[in-house]
């Protein structure tokens, strides 16, 4: 499995070259990768169906218990097949949809990078490994939403999605690390086998909340559901793939994966089921407030994610099975419908249903695919969507608590879904033909093959559920619940309560569709959209702007732009912070001096005092710098006297270069104003004298203590034997503490780039000033 993921990453990086060679056929050529991976995962289909769990592990950072380990059971197989299967069709579709686009290579590369990361998420058997792939999907999603980066809307939507999923990711990281620490292992398999440790751990509630924050943000649960419709700014292949079929399901995948460890508690039931049910209801009806096809589909995706979350929250056998079926069914029909919406947009020039109608004759294949997919979405037999919806009703009815509330919410939400499926499949294709911005005709084969296959799959699995039951649905249920499921799917259960509810849902849904135009315009619906669609988004924006304002405020407060204030602050804080500690902790005794003092030592000392005084008294900056340089050279002399030649050489060189640099800078900057105000002078003198006093006191204290020489001795003894060098200073720099030095040269490099860019910017500003 590691090989499969690595191959995907490598192909992703190589894809720009493929695009250069294959040009208009790039989509078809690159689709071979996911198709091959799909075939690879299919080889385990029977094995997983018989209850096998395939494990694989290679060590990565063994010291931190981080491994590239993978597991393949029903749950991960289901997702892997969805990712690679729909990935194949989406790549073909993207090749047609983005044909001739300047950045097709870039687009396909990020799309494949996403696919590889997403495979990593669903296959990982290590908490940290999973988290890293999880973040990669957030990043690739950001790049794809913002793909049309010259549009302001794309950029802000991409940032919004990144901030929300990134914030959730941060919480998730905390949650996963806490979970790993509580369980004593980062291996998911081992954690699942010892779930009671997590559930009874004092950190349980904290872990739960953090992990749920990650899952809920990723899967667009209320109240952060608004990022998903915003993500529709991405090109349609992305919406079909990431924002309906795969990435947004990473959140529910995580819930399902960790359910055996964290689920089954009262907290889990109330939070997960509660958020899921609210999201389901809110999302379902929001879909009816808009005429943009992608927006309608996006909100109905929010509804579907809510449904799956609710089912996992309930956690009993029926509910988990319903979740498994719903995940697959939804991916199939929603992937198809998004592609249909993209084809309409591509061929007719708009995807606003208010301007669409009668496309059936012009785009017959797309219309047929849309119709079949919409039947599944509406939950009409004999589609897989029908089985899924029946199971949802059955699960809600058999909930141990709140069954009546859950079933009412489910039916209400599904009425809205029936209406939205009719909006997507009927409005653009039937009725009178309308004038569209482009004269519509049938989409090319690359763009209808995807929807046709996905829609057909929904039909085939609906009629013959046994095809996928054992290996996918039951195996998923078993993977989540940990016990063998005894319940197998069939299309017909006889006349029972779920069936009656289905009929009620269907009829009410069609009735809602009938009055949709009036309903959408009604003030009640507009108010609803404002309250549940716009208000959370406005809150997010207010928070974001508030944070930026706060940042601006604190920059204004702390960054005055005056060098002497910065220096004053830095030196002042250092001095007084140290002084307080010294007063409280140190035991100061005036030492006895009985060393012999040489004449040259006195001379050097006098030189230092004189140059310091000259620096203070100097009336020009250049003189002050030169005087400081002299002081530096005197210090180098002190180093030589105490036999530290390395330090002395470095000191001389640094002083020389400092004087050169300072001279260069001083020539350029405006003449500094010499401050003659008495107050300022007293303040500066106070800071300077305190600094001098503090350093002196510290040196005196250090002299009193016994110097621990064990490190120096160790270096002295081993530097030649172990590191083949006699100069301890240099050996420490490049060998013993090389990683510190590496950090330092990185800082140096980054600082250089910063300084050079600042100088260049300043130069350009000056040039522009001169020109104007």
């Amino acid at each position: 499995m590691l090989t499969a993921i690595l191959i995907a990453f490598i192909v992703a990086l190589a894809s720009p070259f493929v695009v250069k060679l294959a040009k208009d056929y790039s989509g078809w050529v690159l689709a071979l990768l996911p198709a091959g991976l799909f075939a690879y995962f299919m080889t385990s289909y029977q094995l997983v169906g018989s209850g096998e769990v395939i494990l694989e592990s290679s060590s990565w950072l063994p010291g931190l218990d981080v491994h590239l380990s993978f597991l393949l059971d029903g749950l991960s197989l289901t997702f892997a097949l969805l990712i690679t299967g729909i990935g194949t069709l989406v790549l073909i579709y993207a090749g047609g949809y983005m044909k001739g686009h300047r950045y097709l290579d870039r687009f396909l590369m990020i799309l494949i990078l996403f696919m590889a990361s997403m495979l990593g998420v669903v296959l990982s058997d290590n908490l940290i490994g999973l988290f890293i792939f999880w973040e990669l999907t957030s990043v690739t999603s950001y790049l794809l939403i913002g793909f049309n980066n010259e549009k302001e809307e794309s950029r802000s939507s991409a940032l919004q999605a990144l901030l929300i999923t990134g914030l959730g990711g941060l919480a998730l990281m905390g949650g996963l690390i806490l979970m790993g620490l509580s369980a004593g292992t980062m291996s998911i398999t081992e954690i699942l086998n010892s779930g009671e440790i997590i559930r009874e751990h004092p950190f349980y509630l904290g872990i739960l909340i953090l992990v749920l924050m990650g899952a809920f943000t990723k899967s667009a649960q209320f109240p952060v559901h608004f990022w998903l419709p915003g993500a529709m700014a991405a090109p349609t292949p992305v919406s079909a793939y990431l924002h309906s079929a795969t990435m947004v399901k990473a959140g529910v995948y995580l819930l399902a994966r960790l359910q055996p460890a964290m689920g089954g508690t009262t907290e889990w039931f109330y939070i997960v089921t509660g958020f899921g049910a609210v999201t389901m209801l809110v999302g379902g009806w929001l879909a009816l407030a808009y005429t943009d096809l992608k927006r309608v589909l996006a909100y109905s995706t929010v509804m579907a994610l809510g449904t799956i979350t609710m089912l996992i929250g309930m956690g009993h056998d029926y509910a988990l099975k319903a979740a498994a079926v719903f995940i697959v069914g939804h991916s199939l029909y929603k992937g198809a419908l998004f592609m249909v919406a993209g084809s309409i947009d591509h061929e007719a020039g708009t995807r606003d249903v208010a301007y669409l109608g009668g496309l059936r004759k012009l785009m017959p294949i797309t219309a047929a695919a849309a119709a079949i997919a919409a039947l599944s979405m509406g939950g009409i037999p004999p589609m897989l969507g029908f089985i899924g919806k029946e199971l949802v009703y059955e699960a809600a009815l058999s909930a141990t608590t709140f069954a009546s509330i859950l079933i009412i919410v489910a039916v209400l939400a599904n009425i809205a879904v029936v209406a939205s499926s009719a909006i997507v499949a009927i409005t653009p294709f039937y009725g009178e033909e309308k004038k569209t911005p482009k004269h519509a005709h049938e989409a090319p084969v690359s763009m209808w093959i995807g929807p046709v296959i996905l829609a057909a799959m929904g039909l085939i699995v609906g009629v013959f559920p046994s095809l996928a039951d054992r290996s996918l649905f039951s195996a998923t249920t078993t993977a989540i619940s940990g016990v063998e499921t005894s319940y197998y799917l069939s299309l017909w259960h006889g006349i029972n309560l779920p069936l009656i509810l289905s009929v009620v849902t269907l009829l009410s849904g069609l009735a809602v569709f009938k009055i949709w135009n009036n309903l959408r315009e009604s003030s009640a619906m507009q108010g609803y959209a404002r309250a549940f669609g716009d208000f959370p988004k406005a809150t997010y924006e207010a928070l974001l702007n508030g944070m930026l304002k706060f940042a601006r405020f604190q920059i204004d407060a702390f960054q005055s732009g005056y060098l002497h204030r910065y220096m004053g602050t830095i030196i002042g804080v250092t001095i007084f912070g140290t002084a307080i500690t010294l007063l409280l902790k140190a035991n100061f005794v005036w030492p006895d001096f009985n060393d012999h003092i040489n004449a040259y030592e006195v001379i050097v000392l006098a030189l230092m005092i004189l140059s310091a005084l000259a620096a203070v008294a100097a009336k020009s900056a250049l003189k002050a710098i030169t005087a400081l340089g002299l002081l530096g050279f005197s210090i180098a002399l002190v180093y030589i006297m105490f036999s530290a030649p390395d330090l002395a050489i470095t000191q001389v060189l640094v002083e020389t270069l400092t004087v050169i640099l300072a001279a260069l800078v001083l020539v350029k900057i405006p003449k500094p104003v010499i401050v003659d105000r008495a107050g300022a002078k007293v303040r500066d003198a106070f800071i300077a004298i305190s600094g001098g006093v503090l350093v002196t006191v510290m040196l005196l204290i250090i002299l009193q203590g016994d110097l621990d020489l064990s490190l120096s001795e160790y270096f002295g003894e081993t530097s030649y034997v172990l590191a083949h060098g006699r100069n301890i200073v240099n050996v420490i720099l490049v060998d013993y503490r090389a990683i510190d030095t590496l950090g330092e040269i990185i800082v140096l490099g980054v600082a250089a780039f910063g300084i050079i860019s600042l100088i260049k910017l300043y130069m350009n500003d000056k040039k522009e000033e001169k020109q104007s």
Partner: protein, 138 residues
Amino acid sequence: MINSLILRTATKLLFGLLLIFSIFLFFRGHNEPGGGFIGGLVGATAFALFAIAYGPKKSREILKLDPQVMIGAGLLFGVASGIISILLGTPFLTGAWIFPVIGGTELHLGTPLIFDIGVYLVVVGFTLGVIFSLEEEK
């Protein structure tokens, strides 16, 4: 740039000496005072002096490499020396040594040498990058 005959003549003499001294200090560093940091500073001084005497454009020409590229290359050397250790199965940046005998003398060559070249390059790149851009800013 300072148009001074004395400075230019002296620079011609000092430039080569400084460069040789810089490389001498660099190699000497492992056993005697010296090393990549000090050697790099002396090397940078040579080009800085040249830039003062003949202008940064000329100095850039004889340097051949862009200082910014030198910084990148230096960091690459530093990281590469660490990666060699990983490939040899030891922790990042553990010194690895070989002892070839050339002309009867046993040489001690190891990854810390590569690392020190990295330090040298970053120091030269930093100093010259800043000095050149300050001098060019006119």
